[in-house]
Symmetry: C2
Subunit: 298 residues, 2 copies
Amino acid sequence: MRLLECVPNISEGRDADKIALMAEAIRKHKGVQLLDISSDWDHHRSVFTFVGDPEAVKEAALSLAHQAIDLIDMSQHRGGHPRLGAVDVVPFVPVHGVEVEEAVDMARGFGKELGGRGIPVFFYEDAALRAERKELPAIRRGEYEGLVEKMKDPFWKPDEGPDLFNPKSGATVVGARFPLVAYNVNLKSEDLAMAKEIAKKVRFKDGGFPRVRAMGVALKEKGMVQVSMNLTNYRVTNIPKVYEFIRKEAAGKGIEIEGSEIVGMIPLKVLEGLVRHFLKYPEFSINQVIEQRILDFE
Amino acid sequence: MRLLECVPNISEGRDADKIALMAEAIRKHKGVQLLDISSDWDHHRSVFTFVGDPEAVKEAALSLAHQAIDLIDMSQHRGGHPRLGAVDVVPFVPVHGVEVEEAVDMARGFGKELGGRGIPVFFYEDAALRAERKELPAIRRGEYEGLVEKMKDPFWKPDEGPDLFNPKSGATVVGARFPLVAYNVNLKSEDLAMAKEIAKKVRFKDGGFPRVRAMGVALKEKGMVQVSMNLTNYRVTNIPKVYEFIRKEAAGKGIEIEGSEIVGMIPLKVLEGLVRHFLKYPEFSINQVIEQRILDFE
């Protein structure tokens, strides 16, 4: 079995009936499983997580997009989260037996079809066609409200779809990226400066581990501090590397790890690296996991 | 998706054509996946590992048994491994979304049908009907050659099938058991007595961890010693507990763990305990693994 994941961020987080209609647009596709819907009233935004065969996932994403475009009028939308359009961001993520290249193909195909429906589309991350569109925040700067002006600038000519501002739907950012592992380590300390100092040493931007973003955070209710991380490519830097580094850094200051957590879902392959490291078992393979073998038979 | 595993031990390990016919008897069942065949010439024995929906697995086990009974004449069988019959031992193992009780039901149903085909059947482990038949070695003592005498003793009246010795097929032992985790820890030392001492502290028989069997072994080629273990119920004692215990015991003698290994296959659930322990993350659930969720949708 091959699994591509899609995690569209849609600008509707309040009307349960509309959210249900959008979920149904995904669910009607055979070979696709809708794993999660997270809706936020304040953000006025919903995130749908679904997986399946790559082509089926692209088709389900298109059905969702068409449904969202029908239901949402961006000229009426106010929410706490930055957004550019009704179908705001659509990342395709290779999860199991799929490489990034195929995720890029699906993203480009999705973008082309959405463009044909009259929505300006920008490609980002691994699907980006231009270096300056690699990062989402650069594309989304100015948000929906600034889009009418932004699109008058030839620099922001969309990668697909019309060059003109679409007031009802705004624009859509479509991309492909590796699965992101959101991983936090909590330290038995209230010293936020210390957590920030460790985070700085961990993150790539300041000379730390490649493909790692990190920041120090105070967990006021717990009376602790946290190094909060995004591992954007676990094949390059996986959990054990940052866990052990943080453990040693903290120990050097007489501080212990209280605990850690993986936020959201991970591919099974992430666990392979954990077993290899913590059991001193470099040959371990997830092919030794019965469930993995079953999936690969299908 | 629910997965029951079946691991029949068949008294034919030399004739590739016969082994292929037996594999085919399993493969023809839809909803069953044959994961592994291990044949040993000296033992004159093959172990088939297959998984699938419980009922389908029972049916596939019966097809395999019927094929083996047709092909094997125990009166001609000589091999290095203890055995009682053509279809020697048939354990049913709950792997994913299946409890031991259902494995017992399948074992009993399988035994009843095999008994109806004229094969004396003894139930063991969790499927045992009598305490003295809980352990396989007690049932198999005297082997095939001793069976004709053994069956004259009313104490050894079979649980299913005829009371009479069946010279062509011998008898079959059928049971249900929890998945076994075969786990070894290698120590940077050639001191076998030390490995045996640690193994003694680890194993339940001598006051160690429940559901753990252990022995000290010399790895002559590697110049190391090993604590070789069977964890017969990972829900009771999982890998981290024995790993940390052995690490501390060895460290007390100034010896380090060189590495460790899991022999054969494990259910995904085994990894849950590893993540919980090594990442100090007691809330971790394998439901956070995308592949697990996919299987449970099916």
